[in-house]
């Protein structure tokens, strides 16, 4: 907190019923002071006012050094969000005031937001005590705040530790809605500001129209992944000593030239969550509802942390669609999460990333001259990359597709109930299409789609790998493939490849050799 205050306000200064006390924080656009109420306890709206509040001063006056047109817009966003949304995990706004004091040109005309006062910010807490024990619980509360925003149709746009506030009781709330935007369809438009370390790669150097830049809720999900990694391991998920280096690492990762290497200190249950937040493309990122379920589970409570019960139903919630049944449940303190209902959007993975030409996609791990159909390469490579088991490689998936069907998506074998490019049995495939382990709603029907078959294969192989007994004789990759043909239990029981699958495995070994580039294995 060595930077100068954006808006200096003397101690004891009076604005409305508030007296300015100590400074709390300053940001790029405004400064926050503690305020003590000196007058009546009712706001203009008849709402009860607390004894102390946080006063956020934003320099909007005509006498301020620069007239900032964008500042006006940022404030309007924040005020608008507070007016429309009151949710337990979002910081409250009580009032807005305008300073009328011609004798102080630097303050005259400033906008003051009267906000709920917090104890400190998460960033202050982290710098005092990194890797706090309460980390998982705080993350669950942050995630709840995001879910409340997203379900109401808003995107935060600037999630980071400084914008997570901790209340006196230790609970977390989201704050600072300068960048927040209401969704219009699948997108919202936000001002072109961002915090580099929390910006998803697709927004790093994105196109900007005259309305600002397009942003999706998945941008908040990325930021949450970064935040979770930081809270749990005290390090950023992408390597580099400076924000610029980390930005370049994010760009390289998103282009597929680099892998995501999460900290080994990250507990396993969080590893999967962070990985699904930090997927290369926005389309692959886990949805907020699924994320909240997993985060809540990982935080060690099988229901969301307790919330103050609020009987008031806000207009925004009332107008929301059936997809927000869960939010009502949350707001009313009901905790039935087992049945996810019909409204949860499905999270499917492995939409091929189209940026790189498919014919050379992932050429470092999968040879380009051995007849793997170019159209399937991105799906194969992405499916393997979606799994952090080293043995689940693009070459293994390609070799299995070759051995199962010779890359024939129309394969149909009703006798064995196996279909498609990976010879899936539909009732099994149903459980493996989604990255989060939930079955898809309707039973897949032959002909099975290629993206679903390959994504499902990736997820299933990733599940098999840790279930195989360590130190079985033979190539681990071939053992995984054999377990896909039969089951990992069979392979473990046979202490290797069961005899009846030896021919299959021989062919597979041959293809593996053909598809693996020299030196990469």
């Amino acid at each position: 907190m060595t930077e100068p205050y954006a808006v200096p306000v003397p101690r004891g200064y009076r604005v409305g019923v508030w007296e300015v006390r100590d400074p709390i924080a300053t940001g790029a656009f405004g400064s926050v002071y503690e305020g003590r109420r000196t007058g009546g306890d009712l706001a203009g709206t008849g709402e009860e006012l607390p004894r102390t509040a946080a006063l956020k001063f934003l320099p909007t006056g005509t006498g301020t050094p620069r007239q900032l047109t964008h500042l006006r817009e940022l404030i309007d966003r924040e005020v608008e969000l507070h007016r429309r949304l009151k949710q337990p995990r979002l910081i409250r706004m009580y009032d807005t005031l305008t300073v009328d004091d011609p004798s102080r040109p630097a303050l005259d005309g400033a906008t003051v937001l009267v906000l709920e006062k917090a104890e400190r910010s998460l960033s202050a807490l982290l710098s005092a005590a990194p890797r706090l024990a309460a980390g998982p619980v705080l993350l669950a509360q942050v995630c709840e705040g995001l879910a409340q925003l997203h379900r109401a149709g808003w995107v935060h746009g600037d999630l980071k530790p400084a914008n997570v506030l901790l209340m006196k009781d230790g609970s977390a709330r989201l704050a600072d809605f300068n960048m927040a935007a209401e969704l219009e369809g699948t997108h919202a438009y936000t001002p072109a500001f961002s915090t580099p370390d929390y910006t998803p790669p697709e927004l790093l150097w994105s196109e900007i129209g005259t309305r600002g830049r397009q942003i999706r809720p998945s941008a908040d999900v990325w930021a949450f992944g970064v935040l979770a990694h930081l809270v749990l391991t005290d390090s950023f998920p992408l390597p580099g000593g400076t924000p610029t280096a980390r930005r370049d690492a994010a760009a390289a990762y998103a282009r597929g030239t680099d892998e995501l290497r999460l900290s080994p200190q990250l507990p396993d249950i969080w590893r999967g969550i962070v990985r699904d937040c930090l997927s290369r493309t926005h389309a692959d990122r886990v949805g907020t509802d699924a994320l909240l379920r997993r985060v809540t589970e990982a935080a060690g409570t099988d229901r969301p942390p307790r919330l103050p019960r609020r009987r008031r139903r806000s207009a925004v919630i009332a107008s929301a669609t059936a997809a927000t049944v869960a939010v009502a449940a949350l707001g009313y303190g009901i905790s039935t999460w087992a049945d996810t209902g019909g409204g949860t959007p499905e999270v499917r993975s492995s939409t091929p990333t189209a940026k790189v030409a498919p014919a050379t996609y992932g050429s470092a791990e999968l040879r380009t001259d051995q007849g793997v159909p170019a159209a399937y390469r991105p799906m194969i490579v992405d499916a393997a990359h979606g799994c952090d088991q080293a043995d689940v490689t693009p070459a293994l998936i390609a070799a299995m597709l070759k051995a199962e069907s010779n890359f024939d998506p129309k394969l149909s074998d009703p006798g064995k109930d196996e279909y498609g490019i990976a010879r899936w049995t539909p009732r099994l495939l149903r459980w493996w299409i989604r990255a989060d382990g939930q079955p898809v709603r309707s039973m897949p029907k032959p002909p099975l789609s290629v993206p679903d078959s390959i994504a499902g294969l990736g997820h299933y192989l990733c599940y098999i790998e840790p279930n195989l007994t360590p130190d079985l004789p033979g190539d681990k990759r071939v053992l995984i493939a054999a377990a896909y043909r039969t089951s990992y239990k069979r392979v473990n029981a046979a202490h290797g490849i069961p005899p009846e699958y030896r021919d299959y495995c021989k062919r597979l070994t041959q293809y593996l050799k053909e598809y693996t580039p020299p030196g990469s294995w």
């Binding site: 790029a28 047109t69 960048m179 500001f193 370390d197 150097w205 610029t244 760009a251 282009r255």
Partner: protein
């Protein structure tokens, strides 16, 4: 997600619209006489594998693969600022936002242009801390493109919010006192570069109108004013300075 743009020397066919090759951080591009190179420069005086350009974050590095020629990398806006990259020098970092690699080739000088539009510049209100909310673009207020942008924004900044935008010719006239070499082409070039630098999204109405640029100027100005890229006090860059060096 590219950060570097390479514009090869013009060939006879595409004099009007020169190719632009975009490189993302970590991507590399080779140039030389051989057809294996990413950029083929069919000139007898150029080595078969003459050199390599690698995008490295917001800047780029140059390797001189030739046997005996020294390449000069000039900053065309830098009043003679340049660097030399001798034969065999690998991965020399180039600091300029605009660069021209000059290849000496049997009496001719061939120029490969390289732009680095993602260079960052400090904004008065932001620090270097990655945790600070920062605007998505940064401009160098000493560059010509900034003077062009200021000239375009001037009428609206002077208090006429719906004033018509100056034409390219008017911009040329406005800038000539400080930039005697200003021409229609160079101003137009700067407008095109600004659209690249500010990552302007092409509007739906300019999708197939070809070289018409009214929409582009309009979008540039509204973006610049909306995000305060040019403010009233920035208009000093347009004022004629006695030494004539205020704007380079």
């Amino acid at each position: 997600m590219y950060s570097i743009i390479v514009v090869p020397p013009p060939t006879t066919e595409d004099q009007s619209t020169r190719t632009q090759l975009k490189l993302a951080p970590g991507e590399r591009l080779t140039f030389g006489r051989s057809a294996d190179c990413d950029v083929e420069i069919p000139h007898k005086g150029v080595s078969r594998r003459a050199g390599e350009i690698t995008a490295q974050g917001a800047f780029w590095i140059l390797s001189n693969l030739s046997g005996e020629q020294t390449y000069v990398v000039e900053n065309p806006e830098g009043a003679g600022e340049h660097m030399k990259v001798g034969p065999g020098r690998l991965d020399a970092p180039v600091p300029f936002e605009f660069s021209r690699i000059v290849l000496p080739a049997a009496g001719d000088l061939l120029a490969v242009e390289v732009w680095a539009p993602r260079h960052d510049y400090l904004r008065s209100e932001g620090g270097l801390d990655g945790a600070t909310t920062a605007p998505a673009f940064s401009v160098d207020r000493t560059k010509r493109y900034f003077a062009v942008l200021a000239a375009l924004c001037e009428p609206r900044l002077r208090g006429a919010p719906h004033a018509p935008l100056p034409t390219v010719d008017q911009v040329v006239d406005r800038l000539r006192p400080n930039w005697p070499a200003a021409s229609r082409t160079s101003v137009q070039w700067n407008i095109d570069y600004l659209a690249v630098k500010l990552r302007l999204k092409p509007g739906p109405d300019e999708a197939d109108t070809g070289p018409r640029l009214n929409g582009k100027k309009e979008s540039l100005v509204s973006l610049a004013l909306r995000f305060d890229l040019v403010r009233e006090d920035d208009l000093v860059v347009l004022a004629a300075s006695p030494s004539g060096r205020a704007v380079r």
